[in-house]
């Protein structure tokens, strides 16, 4: 990975709508070189997607999110990967991490209510072969996600004009 690509990633992480021309100006680079670098990052799947961070708590259509700790017995040859894939293919699953420590997979599930998540856990997740146990924790409030504070109280408190 080049220095330029690293810098581009940092700036896009702050705001993915920044275009090649703006990035080129900020980084004192050639616009075409920036365009190439971004294309390369996309092709290598380093830039996976340009997504939006949404504060769903402010949307009337309420969503419920739960973190589920899952213990599994790994498969010969495939380890945890095959069962992880089996789980992450469910559309209600938002993230899956392989963890060190007391359990194996951390699964984040989103639903329209408690019942949806409950039924996912009992009907789909628990019934999978090799899933030994699950522990479900409902998220009550999101304060910060991906480094972004939802209700930022820091703001800009500076005086509007100063010497």
């Amino acid at each position: 990975m080049s220095e330029l690509q690293l810098k581009i990633l940092e700036l896009l992480k702050e705001d993915s709508r920044r275009d090649a021309e703006l990035l080129a100006t900020m980084l004192d680079a050639d616009t075409e070189a920036v365009r190439q670098a971004i294309q390369d990052l996309e092709e290598k799947n380093i830039i996976v997607k340009y997504a939006t961070v949404v504060n769903w708590a402010k949307v009337s259509q309420e969503k419920v999110t739960a973190i589920i700790e899952v213990q599994i017995s790994p498969e010969r040859d495939h380890g945890f990967d095959a069962i992880a894939e089996r789980i992450y293919l469910y559309p209600e699953v938002k993230s899956v991490y392989l963890m060190s420590g007391a359990y194996d997979l951390q699964v984040e599930v989103e639903g329209r209510g408690l019942h949806e998540i409950a039924s996912f856990v009992s009907n789909k997740l628990s019934t999978l072969e090799r899933v030994l146990s699950t522990k479900t924790f409902f998220i009550l409030k999101k304060y910060k996600q991906d480094g972004i504070i939802f209700e930022d109280r820091q703001g800009d408190h500076r005086m509007i004009v100063s010497p």
């Binding site: 702050e14 705001d15 100006t25 900020m26 004192d28 500076r158 509007i160 004009v161 100063s162 010497p163």
Partner: protein, 390 residues
């Protein structure tokens, strides 16, 4: 009650920035490029050092000159970063912001009638402080064609038998101009020749783009003739903490300390603790902020040039100083109308003294989104002027 105020203080005009502040504060939906301080909040670990100090009960006075450990860190830092050596014991004084250090230095050096030279456009405080003390402040005009550098010819022309002090401040607020070693050399010769003392306000020393800052004190023979004034406000995003310092010859620092101990006693201890953490473990944070300023600097300079305003390349600080002469408006008219019609606050160049007319100061210590939108608004405003003119 005006009659009780001394004629001297009455004669000093209020800051031109103040008038603009009042105007801007009364308007709505303004994007401000008028702010002379970082847009970063003080990095968490510096704040935490102050909190930790409070929890441990560090709430006392400190040594008048500042915590000995902090003075040591300041001396180490100046040596490592700019190659200038100071003895922490009697050549370093911790002050309430760089502002206090400037005031102390001038009060220690200037007797009524002594003349002080100030290259302008410059920071707004020097000349009023000189006047309050009874000195005579004389501006030396610098020009965009010279990248607002101080030239030996203009300095020599301004020196009189009463000239005692030269105040230099590079990187410059408001112009973004800097002085290289080559630029300084002929200045140092004149300082020697005319037996001047130099107050070098190096508050923006860490904010240079391209070439590293050259401290005036690092020039041959200039160590004892220079008082370095600096602080933590800009590089470490610590404006509200009010921690600065002065370094120089023990005789001068000693004289400044005398005034400081009677008027201020010492800088607040919790802010000194935070500053110490900044010097010990804050360089990475500082570099991160620096890089971000540089990215925004490129954006705003290109923006002004695309709009068709001449903008010299600022080499330091966080201000662009575009020329608005083409619009046919004065700085004050331009800035006032830009505020009221274009909804962007910038500071008219004339408030910074000689050579400032025809320019506006635009701080890029604000978000990329703000800069982009402000540039769009300025573009529209400048175009609206053209339509009227034709």
């Amino acid at each position: 009650m005006k009659r009780y105020i001394t004629p001297l203080v009455q004669s000093i005009p209020p800051s031109g920035i103040r008038k603009f502040f009042d105007l801007a504060s009364g308007s709505k939906d303004i994007i401000s490029l008028g702010v002379g301080e970082p847009d970063f909040v003080t990095p968490w670990r510096f704040r935490d050092a102050a909190v930790n100090g409070l929890e441990l009960g560090r709430t006392s006075y400190t040594h008048n000159a500042g915590l000995p450990e902090l003075r040591e860190e300041i001396a180490n830092y100046l040596h490592k970063s700019f190659g200038v050596k100071y003895e922490p014991k009697d050549e370093v004084l911790v002050t309430v912001g760089g502002s206090e250090a400037i005031d102390l230095a001038l009060r220690a050096l200037i007797a009524p009638g002594d003349e002080v030279l100030i290259p302008e456009p410059s920071y707004v405080s020097y000349s009023p402080i000189v006047s309050i003390i009874g000195g005579v402040a004389n501006g030396i005009e610098t020009f965009a064609k010279d990248q607002f550098k101080l030239t030996a010819e203009s300095l020599e022309a301004a020196i009189t038998p009463r000239t005692k002090v030269l105040i230099v401040s590079y990187p410059s607020n408001p112009t973004g101009g800097i002085m290289t070693r080559e630029d300084w050399e002929p200045i140092a010769k004149l300082v020697e020749k005319h037996d001047l003392i130099v107050i070098s306000d190096e508050i923006y020393a860490e904010l240079t783009y391209g070439s590293k800052h050259v401290s005036f004190a690092s020039l041959p023979g200039m160590h004892d003739r220079t008082i370095i004034v600096s602080g933590f406000s800009k590089a470490f995003a610590m404006t509200g903490w009010r921690i600065g310092y002065a370094c120089g010859h023990p005789d001068i620092i000693g004289a400044m300390l005398k005034i400081h101990q009677y008027t201020i006693m010492c800088a607040p201890i919790m802010a000194q603790l935070a500053a110490m953490e900044a010097l010990r473990n804050g360089m990475e944070e500082k570099d991160r902020m620096m890089e971000s300023y540089n990215q925004r600097r490129r954006l705003i300079v290109k923006g002004f040039r695309d709009i068709g305003l001449d903008c010299h390349e600022p080499q330091g600080a966080f201000y662009a100083f575009p020329s608005i002469a083409k619009t046919g408006l004065t700085s004050d008219e331009f800035a006032t109308r830009l505020l009221l019609e274009g909804k962007v606050a910038a500071v008219p160049g004339n408030v910074f003294g000689k050579g400032g007319e025809g320019f506006v100061r635009c701080s890029y210590a604000t978000s990329v989104a703000n800069i982009t939108q402000a540039l769009e608004r300025i573009d529209q405003f400048v175009q609206s002027l053209r339509i009227v003119a034709h």
